[in-house]
Symmetry: C2
Amino acid sequence: MDDVAKHAGVSRALVSLVMRDSPRVSDHSRTKVLASANELGYRPNVWARNLASGQTNTIGVMLNDFNNPYFAELAYGVAESATENGMEVLFTSGWQREAGELAAIDTLLNHRPDGIVLGAARIADDLFFDIAAQVATVAVSNFSRPDSMDTVCNDEAFGADLVVEHLTSLGHTRIAHIDAGSSPGGPQRRRGFSHAMAARGLAPIVFEGDYNEQAAHDASVQLMSLKEPPSAIFAANDLAASGVIAHLRDTGVSVPGDVSVVGYDDTVLAGLGAISLTTVAQPMKLAGRRSTELLVERIGGRDVAKHELLRPELVVRSTTGPVAQ
Amino acid sequence: MDDVAKHAGVSRALVSLVMRDSPRVSDHSRTKVLASANELGYRPNVWARNLASGQTNTIGVMLNDFNNPYFAELAYGVAESATENGMEVLFTSGWQREAGELAAIDTLLNHRPDGIVLGAARIADDLFFDIAAQVATVAVSNFSRPDSMDTVCNDEAFGADLVVEHLTSLGHTRIAHIDAGSSPGGPQRRRGFSHAMAARGLAPIVFEGDYNEQAAHDASVQLMSLKEPPSAIFAANDLAASGVIAHLRDTGVSVPGDVSVVGYDDTVLAGLGAISLTTVAQPMKLAGRRSTELLVERIGGRDVAKHELLRPELVVRSTTGPVAQ
DNA sequence: CTGAAAGCGCTAACAA
DNA sequence: TTGTTAGCGCTTTCAG
């Protein structure tokens, strides 16, 4: 910094002001300093800056799983909004294991970001409290509502209702849901489905599954061996829907000719030409944007918790059709 | 730190030694200090530590795209190996755009990790030099070989040869490759394919495509309208293969009855029950592990570049079969 | 806009 | 094994 000051013929304090984008520097000085900095290959040392200022201008994001497009969208939303707010973003992954999540959060906390967003973390509630006590925190897709932190969730009940509405409008009445057990969002989707069916005077058929192909495949086997198999299956998510479709195809059942299938999440695989799955799109990018904004507010001083509920949309593709005559 | 020292009744220096896992501290003092630290909720301030020590014990990873399982595996390998080496990992994404990559690398550089991994970065070669001059760097899946940095690549030619060997052993002779143009790895795969075909006395059919569904779909349309359409198609990657399969299915061509299709990368979508694609698996997790290890060596003082070439494997699923009679 | 001075929380010699 | 003493590179405050 001294070198830059010398090179530009100004004081160290001025260089500091320029590097911090202070408004009270003349344009002339600013360009001069910037030029010198560039020429000397000077890059402010964040550690020193953080140490002195107590701020990082960085937000940390813990993603339960890098392998899930659902989180990729969330990450993108956070990054986009953070850039607009002049902040940087660092990511860690929990690799789908709770121990991994803990380590990931620890890494984040070690680097002391100004705020963190927890993507569908499956850690215990009191750990959430611990974390929120240390740094501004927003939890995404976590339905517990501790008042110490903000949350952003999807309106799962509304999504389930969209699915039921779509299927009934196609004439389906025997509709089955393969759920996600107690995995995050699972209970909400199941409840939403049951309500939506009941509201239309239909009996909800629910089988236990999970957010993966195998569990859904197995549930599908049971489902199709019922005396009166359903004419439509609403799977826990896209991956589960893929498992169902694979099973139906293997057993010579036409999709959507004989049975309609709906997924959830609108991940890349749903859009694949070879699958083309009707599904429910969650606004994860928006969730990411909102998370960043909530964090910025928190950092700015807000101290009451906010809880957001986002509305999903139905994306109709080729795996749903009129009920067979 | 002072508080902890006071609480434990020792010197600040001792606390520092304990926090750094120094071997020359008595077990008695260590447990005492650790207990106090825990009780007081003390967490060493990394900024101060980094500033004073000049080290972060962190490695940064730039992934071109969070949405690609190919990178997720790489990330996992890096993380796993880093943990074993007592280091932490921070990720950024380039969101598939060059400007994004630059920003992502900048964020990483700002936090001054001990080393960085560049996952299939598409930035210019001289930028690589710039970066490698600032910090220990390893480039993954980048075939330029500047001696200032280590590289880890997949043996694309070998992978292409595996595909050709598999298809010819099934009796195919009219085999087409939809390539990835000049995208990373594309030229290598194309060349490997041509060599493998030529080595077996077969004429290589090559159409230009890219690493996405649409480009492959379009190429497939052209390919199938040839006077003598191929009996097997080797796509640039799994996504491209999905585009090909969608087109074939839409036009009533049976896979693999009429035409066999092979992908590349063995991403999740290849394993999907609804697709079940024969593909080439790249050892990306291993690539991640090797990257970390190379970095650790570099940080440890090695100053000659190492370049690694990893061997892919063929994964046979349901989209390839004997040539139609 | 400048210059000086204090200090962020820690590490790294060195001496005790 | 412990205590002491300098910094690490920056921000912040304040008077000019």
